[in-house]
Amino acid sequence: MNSEGPNRPAGRRDSAGILAAMKAVMLGDLKSSFRQPRDLVNPLLFFVLVVMLFPLGVSPEVAFLQQAGAGILWVAALLSVLLSLDHLFRHDFDDGTLEQLVLQPQPLFLLVLAKSMAHWVLTGLPLVLLTPLLGVMVHLEGNSIAVLCLTLLIGTPVLSLIGAIGAALTLGLRSAGVLLSLMIIPLYIPVLIFGTGTVMAAGEAAPVTGQLALMGAFLVLALTLAPFASAAALRISLSNA
């Protein structure tokens, strides 16, 4: 970065190069996922199935579902993001794209940020879009559903960003799945607590701006810190392979 060689364009063009690279990484991820829709659809199906288990397994009563609905949807979203994390770097790792990314002149953490954002667009965003439907199915009220969508909109990027650290750390390993969950779920707990807490407060017609602001703070913190940790983890995993 700070090695200003004679051939390096300085100043504005450099930052333009970074943005272009981030855009290229993000679009590349989106395109390759749309060509394999299986990866796109499976987490969504999983999300719906997990939500479905609760009325069947615990109780289909309206009172229970209204009380627990927000928590069920949040937990299901969390698990489905967790399941999809393994794909985040795996394909690029297998075909060597990841090594090329590490060799790029652009800082790795920004490219990782772009990849995490692509992951969110592919998993988090569809979950948010599916939430109103499932919210109606668990008898949440209109206001609660709106707040739930909002918390998931702020919260799922945090899940993708933190999850990227775990995905990068477990990259070269054989039994990555369980290990990934063991490492990442404890770190997801604050997001879950505030996500469901906000919807509960909305259900009691209490003001939610404070809690939403805190979730926004989580998002900013994850956006600024998590890519550095993921980039460091990626370098470690690649040097291991």
Binding site: I165, I236, S237, N240
Partner: protein, 248 residues
């Protein structure tokens, strides 16, 4: 200063120092801890409200103290691993993690035993309890990741990243669960205030805490020595050390 730094990085030097330090740590630790425990369990006055059941704090509070500070020590060592690639720091992280997990479990267990007569329940989803449980899983995660990666260097650095991410999260987890739900009383000792209990209670408690710190130091040294012997098995000084009749 730099010389000391380089020396600290040398496993052989540490091995020697630890051997000399360990008897002191062990016996002072045992003396302090046992004195604190015996004083606390047998001679300290019973609590006016809880009777004798409060006495479990003489084990509960020291282990809870240690459970948290071990993680912070590990985080410092993790930073040293990442920044200076010091071998010993990683040896410490690997050796301390299971001990930390054990202490966290002990704190949870004694808390449960105390909670049954006092709160009337073994477990409750309270802020402190939940965050300690999460701490236990952070320890488990670090141990699992460390044992999953075969290569020693990558394993060290990967665990270091995970431990550091965990330490950023600990305050967030702590406050999030605290605002969420709380029953546990506030911290027993604060650096800034005089303890709210009589000296007959807090002096033995403090002794038990300090004693357990020393005992942890001893155990950490012992485990680090073992780990060093395993890792440096091919060097000459280890071969001389473990050869029958050899004396270092």
């Amino acid at each position: 200063m730099w010389q000391l730094f380089h020396k600290l990085g040398s496993p052989k030097w540490f091995y020697g120092i630890a051997s000399r330090l360990m008897p002191w740590l062990l016996w002072t630790g045992v003396a302090l801890f046992m004195a604190g425990i015996i004083w606390g369990l047998a001679f300290a006055p019973p609590d006016y409200l809880q009777g004798n059941s409060y006495r479990i704090i003489f084990i509960h509070v020291p282990s809870a103290f240690l459970a948290q500070s071990v993680y912070i020590m590990m985080a410092v060592a993790a930073l040293v691993t990442l920044v200076w690639r010091m071998k010993l720091a990683d040896v410490f992280v690997k050796s301390a993690a299971p001990v930390g997990a054990l202490l966290t479990f002990l704190a949870l267990f004694t808390g449960a035993v105390w909670g049954k007569p006092t709160w009337g329940t073994w477990w409750i989803w309270d802020a402190r309890l939940t965050s300690m449980l999460i701490l236990l899983f952070l320890y488990f995660g670090a141990i699992a990741l460390g044992s999953a990666i075969a290569d020693e260097k990558s394993s060290a650095r990967a665990v270091a990243v995970l431990v550091l991410v965990g330490v950023v999260n600990i305050p967030i987890i702590k406050y999030s669960v605290e605002w969420w739900n709380t029953l546990h009383q506030p911290a027993t000792f604060k650096l800034t205030e005089k303890p709210s209990m009589p000296a007959d209670m807090w002096v033995p408690l403090l002794m038990a805490v300090l004693g357990l710190y020393l005992l942890f130091g001893w155990l950490a040294c012992l485990r680090m020595q073992t780990e060093i012997l395993v890792r440096e098995g091919r060097t000459r000084w280890v071969k001389e050390l473990v050869r029958p009749g050899g004396n270092a």
